[in-house]
């Protein structure tokens, strides 16, 4: 499980991307082919970063955020795919998963559901905002980037490997990989492990700054269900794992159970509230 084989050396590389450290581990037929494949995968992650960073004025996200009411914007198919999944999750969770924020609108004037409902997805990768709004794909784009990196590796002929973007990770190929979860209150320690074969795992928490509870925030300003500890979600792909993690953090495992089951996902919560406890939901499928 830990090494590839004598014929296929293991290569591991890491680059700073998406505001975190992105690590790619593959079994390659040769050093040269593995290096080339990893370069393609990093390029895919960098492309997601360029398309979806809210800090880059040229990104699709910034273009949507600058758009005036009712204007139609053509976005990259990758951005469109993320927006489509986001809107689908918003519908299924009744707006708990919400990529939009309307900072100008007062608490009383816009309900959260109104906010994401202002973004219409049109044919041919076009979007229209019926009202000006701000979107942030921070709760889903990292997972999507991991999926694109995996696709790039597979296209380059890599059969198995792991892509890990700061805790949002995906395992592909026939080999099982053991993933460790950090202790939510002691980040230098691991407590729970999971064996993954061809699936993804995401963890959301606020390990490194216990004083600041809000690495995770709800766009509607409501209180998170998860006040302390961590949430992990296993799902068929990293985009879903990333996004569903945010849903569980917002409303808890029990209320998120239907949407988790719909996506063949399972969740684990470590150390919420007093007394701290573990809660888990296994995939029914």
């Amino acid at each position: 499980m830990t090494s590839c084989s004598s014929q296929s050396p293991e290569l591991v590389r890491a680059r700073p991307l998406l505001g975190t450290v992105v690590e790619i581990r593959v079994c390659a037929r040769s050093l040269a082919s593995g290096t080339a494949a990893i370069n393609h995968a990093f390029a895919a992650v960098a492309r997601v970063h360029a398309l979806m960073s809210p800090h880059d004025p040229a990104s699709d996200v910034s273009r949507i955020n600058r758009a005036t009411a009712a204007s139609v914007i053509c976005v990259d198919p990758w951005t469109f795919a993320v927006l489509a999944t986001s809107q689908d999750l918003a519908t299924r969770t009744n707006g708990v998963f919400d990529i939009s924020t309307r900072p100008s609108a007062g608490r009383n004037t816009a309900s959260p559901r109104e906010s994401w409902g202002q973004l219409d997805l049109l044919p041919r990768n076009r979007v229209r905002c019926s009202l000006p709004l701000k979107i942030d794909l921070g709760g889903i784009a990292k997972g999507f980037a991991v999926d694109r990196a995996v696709a790039a590796l597979q296209r380059a002929g890599i059969v198995s490997g792991v892509v890990n973007a700061g805790g949002d990770l995906r395992v592909f190929g026939p080999r099982a990989e053991r993933i460790h979860l950090r202790h939510p209150f002691s980040p230098g320690h691991c407590l729970i492990a999971a064996e993954l074969v061809d699936e993804a795992l995401a963890t959301s928490a606020n390990y490194f700054d216990p004083a600041r509870q809000g690495r995770l925030v709800r766009p509607d300003g409501r209180r998170l269900w998860l006040q302390r500890g961590s949430v992990s979600v296993m799902a068929p792909n990293a985009m879903l794992a990333d996004a569903l993690c945010k849903v569980v953090a917002a409303i808890g495992i029990r209320r998120a159970a239907p949407v988790l089951r719909e996506h063949h996902a399972s969740a684990l919560v470590l150390g919420r509230g007093q007394p701290d406890r573990i809660e888990q939901l296994a995939d029914a499928a």
Binding site: A14, T20, V21, L181, S186, H189, L191, D276, Q280
Partner: protein, 174 residues
């Protein structure tokens, strides 16, 4: 319904107090960033004036005055640098074109360290007596971590400092 999660036995939970990973040696990083390039070591020591100028122009503290720089034949630079966060120590390599444009940033070595104590004793106590589906061995390497949300801000700052270093120190000698 099988639970996909494996609960680590308590006694072993404290077997690691950090996470360390070596990705590339200097030679490997050179061949990844400049696959066809011929690199020559260019020993550079910053004077205190240069050091202050770099810190002032980049807004980032300069800790090391001995730079690990290689000149690429035909133009360009390969630099190995280190950044230090509260819990992490990262060695990374940067490739620059002759004009000082970043071509690649590769992490060479990454290590986290923490105090070895496990916080939340009460919380840990609940695991006593829980089923252990697949006990971890003490000597097993931790290869994949989820929940590692350390930011790469220090590397971003480091690259910014190196770009100023290029501008003030390397460009004039190229």
């Amino acid at each position: 319904m099988r639970s996909p999660w494996i609960i680590t036995p308590l006694a072993l939970a404290a077997s690691t107090s950090g996470y360390a990973m070596t990705y590339l040696t200097v030679e490997q990083a050179q061949s990844v960033i400049f696959p066809q390039g011929k690199l020559n070591r260019a020993p550079i020591k910053l004077s205190s004036t240069q050091r202050d100028a770099i810190a002032k122009a980049s807004g980032i503290r300069v800790r090391m005055t001995d730079l690990r720089v290689w000149r690429v034949e035909g133009g360009g630079w390969f630099i190995v640098d280190e950044v230090l966060g509260k819990h992490e120590f990262i060695t990374y390599a940067v490739g620059l074109t002759a004009k000082g444009i970043v071509t690649a940033v590769e992490i060479m070595d990454y290590r986290e360290s923490y105090g070895s104590e496990v916080r939340g004793e009460k919380w840990r106590a609940q695991f006593v007596g829980k089923t252990v589906a697949a006990p971890l061995k003490l000597d097993q390497d931790i290869k994949n971590l989820s929940g590692a949300t350390l930011s790469s801000r220090h590397i971003t700052d480091g690259v910014k400092r190196l770009l100023v270093t290029h501008d003030l120190v390397l460009k004039p000698i190229s």
